[in-house]
Symmetry: C2
Subunit: 135 residues, 2 copies
């Protein structure tokens, strides 16, 4: 049977035990819209046409919900895309919010990435899509 190519990532998940800190960080510092919060378990954000899901891994790993269990420990990773001017503006905004820039990389192909940490110690990146030769 022919299944259509998977061309879209709809949900990206990270794990943070302190959901209050997670909500404050992603809502206030990163400006994402909170779509849903289930106290103690998760807080979900919209990011354009996709979702960033933050789970408390101790709770999402308990088989008490309809959905399959999961829950990772240790620092994860994800990247937002922004154009070069947007990335520069985000660098300034993060500094205004007291969020240290852990690394600022100019890639051989001219792309650029900045990296910082969220309250769960996840490595968060903002990168120009040209990093992957994406528009």
């Amino acid at each position: 049977m022919n299944a259509p190519p998977l061309r879209r990532i709809l949900e990206t998940a990270l794990y943070i035990e302190d959901l209050d800190a997670a909500e404050t960080f992603y809502r206030d510092a990163l400006g994402l819209e909170v779509i849903m919060r289930t106290d103690g378990r998760d807080v979900f954000f919209r990011c354009g046409d996709s979702m960033l899901l933050i789970f408390n891994p101790h709770v999402s790993a308990v088989p008490e919900h309809r959905v399959p269990t999961h829950g990772a420990h240790g620092p994860g990773h994800m990247a937002f895309g922004a154009d070069a001017a947007g990335l520069e503006a985000w660098r300034a905004r993060l500094q205004e919010h007291g969020i240290p820039i852990e690394r600022d990389i100019e890639w051989p192909n001219g792309a650029r990435s900045i990296y910082f940490r969220d309250p769960g110690d996840n490595s968060i990146e903002i990168a120009t899509p040209s990093l992957w030769n994406l528009a």
Copy 2:
């Protein structure tokens, strides 16, 4: 300083120790294009306008690369988006590949999700974007 809203997730990461199994699974069963492989450390796939990055967490957590360290253990989660017909076709294709469907959920708003596991025990979902009221 005004930073433009973050409207795009460019990279989603999961962790799998066995990168050969990861590559076979995501390339052959899920049909994603391999963009890059660094033996022992990672294998990167394109999915439409974004990237799915698979890391061996034992290696990505070692501070020997230019990029910040990260590396999570335990099952993570992500979801691909597909329309209703595509999701049905994927259900069949997964079964052809011997991949068990762990859960098949019809949501109250008419959206649907199927869940299965990748070789790292990550909980992978294919969902209709209407789950989040996204087009």
